[in-house]
Symmetry: C2
Subunit: 331 residues, 2 copies
Amino acid sequence: MPDLSIDVVAKAAGVHRSTVSRAFSRPEAVKSETREHILRVAEGLGYTMSPLAQALRKKTSTFIPLIVPDITNPFFAELAKTMTQAADERGYQLLLCVTNGDPAKTEGYFIAMQAMYAPFGIVAPSTKVDTEALKRFDFGHKVVVIDRVEGDDAVPTVTVDSRRGIMLALDHLHALGHTSIGYVSGIAGTHTAQDRMDAYLELSAESGSAPVVLDSGSDLDAGTRGAEHFLEMEKPPTAIIAANDMVAFAVISALGKSGVRVPEDVSVIGFDGLALGARFNPPLTTIRQPIADMGHIAIELAEKQNIDGSVDHIVLEPELLVRASTSGPRK
Amino acid sequence: MPDLSIDVVAKAAGVHRSTVSRAFSRPEAVKSETREHILRVAEGLGYTMSPLAQALRKKTSTFIPLIVPDITNPFFAELAKTMTQAADERGYQLLLCVTNGDPAKTEGYFIAMQAMYAPFGIVAPSTKVDTEALKRFDFGHKVVVIDRVEGDDAVPTVTVDSRRGIMLALDHLHALGHTSIGYVSGIAGTHTAQDRMDAYLELSAESGSAPVVLDSGSDLDAGTRGAEHFLEMEKPPTAIIAANDMVAFAVISALGKSGVRVPEDVSVIGFDGLALGARFNPPLTTIRQPIADMGHIAIELAEKQNIDGSVDHIVLEPELLVRASTSGPRK
DNA sequence: ACTGTTATTGCAACCGATCTCAGCAACCGA
DNA sequence: TCGGTTGCTGAGATCGGTTGCAATAACAGT
């Protein structure tokens, strides 16, 4: 491939390189006849513009960083999946940035994205700290966050209604006849995690039953500890709400090791709606978040903000997904 | 940030921009005194070089595409995780490319990576077709493949010894007293998937027991179908080897729905060693692949090839990871 | 003191586009 | 017929670095 640059196309088409440039990026500025000729020639040569050169000159690239704490967590993986798709459709390339929950890394990625002329970035924060960091960077480069951001309306966000989700879970369990419902907190120190917990506390108080927080930790082992706690109780709840599917998996797994069966002995409901849940043992009843929508919406929000400066906060509706990990309480 | 370019640093340090450039990228070519001064000034200004500009001029970037069929599959997610880490350490940025098993997309990414001046790419193919595509592109840009490549020694690969893995699984099961061991095939139409299956066929024949392939499909539902098949047999095997952990999950889940318990009624062993397996119900016994190593090695191989043109084929050793999904056969 | 390295640094072209400005032809109304 | 638009294309500077080459300084050797 003899280095296909805009100049060789220009020569081949018998026009100046600026005309070729226009033929691609501002078609209406070129006589249609000329344009088609150029495009045809380019096509024939198999020419595509260099995104690098474009980015350098235009000071805006097509690289969009997706900053997640852990791609190994299926929630973020599913997010990444829909995101790549949405990105592809619009000609962006996703840069995968994994922070491992280290705020320093997050900041590192922020500065990198500036250097990269990223038009915007998507952040799925692992802790509130990440969102704090946002403020320190007076973004010329915009960011949209998959979480709530504390008292900051300057950054677009997309989330699902945590309260509503917990309500759906509680209603489902109540309908099955459960009255004593425990809770195991989530993996993350995000606002979302906190919101779910708060909702649980409030809503169960409202319904008259005493909340039973089995574990309020924020690490991967919350599920395991929650299960241990459960096993130690003399009068354990008959159902458990897990702050997210991963935790639910851990709870069920740990319970299983001690011979406690789900849903026969205790019902467990998750929160996320991971595809994986369908293949769990037993298939997990859960509150589904519209993850696929979140990816698309996040990118739309970012683009919108880039254009008209609007900052939206989208709150999506979760829905109950009944599979097999919940049933009526043991008599 | 008043657009920090190399020229402003040069001015601030009182030298020419080429000297600044050298101070960063070829330190030995600058008097140490000068260099340190420049670096200090740059530091003070918070200057970093533009990867875009560098890439454009040098015709080699730090973007390295990671091409996977499905990031939602935890195996690829874990791969991506170690990969980002390895990439970060060496100053690369990972471009996440998800093909969904569509060879056309794979090709698209190949051409994109040329345009991006990617120094190399990592491909975890979903089908043999992907590796075929490799050949059509007479790579100036190198690729390393996480799979075997049919009769082509021109591309570096890293894999784990499938045969050895299956052998470990078989031995484990035999040691527990199983004599009738079924097999459910994997997700992918890769060489790896095929190798595992072939190994199973050969090795069980050698050990004198008739192979029982419960399902040889290559899609996500292989596990479910395998389980169905199992349930229909009048004399089903007492243990099942799944070609990978995801399939094992599906098998156990499907079996569970029909009241078949693991490992009480049947033992199941996976292949991958996903972290997720530890939180499955029951925790999954499996053949562990050193995924973390694979990521690092892949990148090392690529760099090595770039430098001295060497093409290596690394084969890693799998190991048995006993958790709780296997036990002695039911009497 | 004179010439031949060697170590440093400056110069300027170049990577592959974009974009402002200027030039030119066709077109319009008066 | 002439100034004024309008439409389209070419020139050339520019984005932020890199690099071969030339220039200068410093240092040896004789």
